[in-house]
Assembly symmetry: C2
Homo-oligomer: 512 residues x 2
């Protein structure tokens, strides 16, 4: 593979580590490809450069389109939340915990182990100017408490339901772990949808709608994913259950890019969100949330990239096509044709960028390869005489396409790039999901795997989900339980730890 080696050598000259060395490649490429600048003097808070911000806003645009399709309304809540609302949240969580400890049926377990919720992760505002504030506030880590205070005022009768609201805002978490652009940051570009429903079933239907939205968005981003219902101990504070969307990154770690939470009426009780039903009774709402973040961009960067840089799906590429005039200084007709073609493409709704800089074509090719532009179009004197342009796909392959009706041909090329990204990434994910080897227990009662497992894989296993058994499983494998899939095994199988028969198909992996 001399070509691939050449690519790596050329990339190395530009400071790009090989993609196979993902933990070096990722932090390098986000800066080399002009997505962010990490030199801002606060750790974990990057500056979004124009190219990166445009890419993120195009992902947001896909989200807005889905929200409009599904009848969600966009709101914007204050960033600052009064301390008293956090205390209200904490009381909710403590109450749920007490119920759990009082020995409620496990299927009714509704809380995670951590009773403080976000209390250890929030940034506090206690001073303004020279003053100490009477009312301490914190920067939102997410907006349940802020929104539900108002939902209690907005929901009056069944006619107000379902209430479907969303916002795209900056949120904050005081991360103590190592930060990584888009993946673990302290200021997070965040999407959150919050809904209120008449009953549990309607809230459940909302979760189904959310999963349908996930499917559509991930199709646009050409990303395969795992759907896992998180174990109880990894359920969002105050939620009945959490369904997480995990993307397998090239280093074998899974990245949670989205999650949906079914709250039943737990938050509604704590925040007094109730409505008058058609029968005149007052009932608490059932609620859900659905969150996503800039991690979607992190997944796009990680999953699709290669040794030469990014490869962006056409749906969110700031430039879908870069148009490069060849030998335009000797053939003025080239410039004219480039203008014509760019106008046609723009009129067809295609995001095109003309690179008429005074540089060697090879330099331009490298620049746009790094930035992951899906399609490069070259037009030179020979193309003019043959009535064609040379179309070079970022995923590999080049061919001449006719200038006549070029918008349709370019549309097909872009579709082909997207299809190729989907094919590659789905294949990779399928290759990486392996059955977990057997768990065996030695005479001292210590558990281990019957054979060593490779790095970088997701393992699937029948597992009953029991708390104590989970500890055994995670310790023996060195992996984290992602949770169980929504599609269970057709026939019950013995749990890998307890031997109990179960249909629960669970995923284990190393998580970000």
């Amino acid at each position: 593979m001399a070509d691939a080696d050449d690519d790596v050598r050329a990339a190395a000259k530009r400071g790009i580590p090989p993609h196979s060395d993902f933990n070096a490649w990722y932090p390098a490429i986000v800066e080399i490809a002009d997505l962010v600048d990490k030199r801002y003097p606060i750790k974990g808070m990057d500056v979004w450069r124009p190219y990166g911000w445009k890419a993120m806003k195009l992902i947001d645009q896909l989200t807005h389109t889905e929200m409009e399709r599904t009848g969600h309304q966009e709101v914007n809540f204050p960033l600052l939340i009064p301390q008293e609302l956090l205390e209200r949240e904490n009381r909710l969580i403590a109450r749920l915990k007490a119920a759990r400890e009082a020995g409620v049926d496990p299927s009714e377990l509704r809380i995670e182990d951590e009773p403080e919720g976000f209390a250890n992760e929030v940034y506090w505002v206690r001073h303004a100017g020279e003053h100490e504030l009477e009312q301490p506030m914190f920067l939102r880590p997410t907006s349940e408490t802020a929104m539900y205070t108002l939902f209690a005022l907005w929901v009056r009768s069944h006619a107000d339901l379902p209430l479907k609201m969303y916002q795209i805002v900056n949120t904050f978490r005081y991360e103590t772990k190592q930060t990584r652009s888009f993946i673990r940051v302290r200021e997070i570009h965040f999407f959150e949808a919050h809904t209120a429903h008449a009953d549990e079933d309607d809230a459940t239907r909302q979760i189904e709608e959310d999963l349908d939205i996930v499917a559509r968005l991930m199709h646009e981003l050409c990303l395969p994913y795992l759907v896992n219902r998180r174990p109880v101990w990894d359920t969002f504070p105050g939620a009945w259950y959490t369904i997480a969307i995990d993307v397998l990154m090239p280093n074998g770690r899974t990245l949670q890019v989205a999650s949906c939470h079914h709250y039943r009426d737990q938050w509604a009780e704590a925040f007094d969100i109730s409505y008058e039903a058609e029968d005149g009774e007052h009932r608490h709402c059932h609620q859900t949330t659905y969150g996503m973040s800039e991690r979607l961009l992190g997944a796009v960067v990680g999953v699709h990239g290669d040794d030469s840089g990014l490869i962006l799906p056409p749906s969110m590429a700031p430039h879908q096509v870069v148009l490069i005039p060849v030998a335009a200084h000797t053939s003025p007709e080239v410039g004219d044709m480039v203008s014509q073609v760019s106008e046609q493409l723009r009129a067809a709704g295609i995001r095109v960028h003309v690179d008429d800089r005074d540089l060697r074509p090879g330099q331009k090719y490298y620049d746009w390869e790094i930035r992951g532009v899906p399609l490069r179009l070259e037009i030179g004197p020979r193309d003019l005489s043959s009535g064609t342009a040379l179309a070079v796909r970022r995923t590999g392959g080049k061919q001449s396409i006719p200038l006549e009706g070029i918008s349709e041909a370019v549309g097909s090329e872009l579709d082909a790039v997207a299809d190729e990204l989907r094919r590659r990434s789905s294949q990779h994910q399928a290759d990486c999901i392996h059955a977990l080897p057997d768990l065996i227990q030695n005479e001292d009662g210590e558990w281990s795997l019957s054979e060593k497992i490779e790095d970088g894989l997701v393992h699937e296993v029948a597992f009953c989900g029991n708390d104590a058994a989970a500890e055994v499983l995670e310790k023996a494998t060195g992996l984290t339980i992602l949770g169980h899939t929504l599609d269970e095994y057709d026939e019950p199988r013995p749990c890998c730890v307890t031997g109990e028969m179960t249909t629960k198909r669970q995923h284990l992996a190393r998580m970000y």
Copy 2:
């Protein structure tokens, strides 16, 4: 005017005070028209409801379009700024103040009296979780210090200039004055453009471009405005000069909705933003900023509203047209035609909302009047037989328009509404600018006006701009000096205080 009285009575029923009682009307209408909810438990931080947020985003969209037209790039900087950068800003301002006190030529005065800049107005973040942060941070009141730290890294050579960046973000000021929705809030939806140039002249040309952008935006918003170069003591910290855009609100107060600052190379020196010129020399950049905020929406609400509610300019109305089927339950053809018309209008890029709620038409009319929808279209059985729809302008007047080719007719109606808003608001502003009566001094040396001035006016006067004289002028009039216009008097006139001849045409008013 029986009609107007009827309107006021009908509006009062819905809780809308008369527009003439502006200080009661404004805070009521922003909630009644569903723009914001003020019941969020932090003073001065409103919740943007879907209708208000959509209106604001449409104003932002006008701004994005102008930024694209003028070659600005969108970035997104962190909200949190390290304390050390504020200290750097303070040193800059202190240095400028010292230069001023050392008796530099008044034309070289570059600072305001307040040496702390924003230090008294910022919210501090000094704690996260249970920890005290090693590096105290504050919430951006504006982003000079954050951006210029990176500009110093981004600008290397003359080829990098001009650098034209902007962002639309949330900013924060700890307001101690009374807060008012959109006008004086503690979390501000804010636009800021920051540019760096090779020299003072190029920065000056940027200010000219900014004023051209202002003119285009304000045309879209149908808002007349005053352009005033602020007095030295009201110049932005660190700026050479500030040009402010003031809108006259119905209560006679002016509202600063935008401002442009020419920084010369003052910030570039403090933040070491320099470039290698074509001659190989290293020089500091000259810089400008241009800021706007949600006050634009406040001005739209205030200036155009009337006794029945909002009147929104078509450029930023979430619904440009509301389409109301009349007697649709008895004539199914009405519903079909309403669908057809709404599809046609949407295809023509017109934002149309079909109100098919099961309510009396009168109730629907009121609802959309309050929310300021520019055009109401009614389609009933009689309209079908005549092949027309009834078009009712929110600015008054109704007429039948043909269903055939309705998009063009609706476009004309919307233009007519915008023109009428411009006509009314320009007339009102022109009516409200009066010459200032003479200033006279009594035997005790006390100054007063030769005649009493009316409330609610902007006064124009020849004034030399001298510091001490300004104090006399503001005290005698009870007004604030907005600054001098960019178009001076053709012939010098005597200054109203000192009698010195001057061409400076100055405005005085009560400011928000």
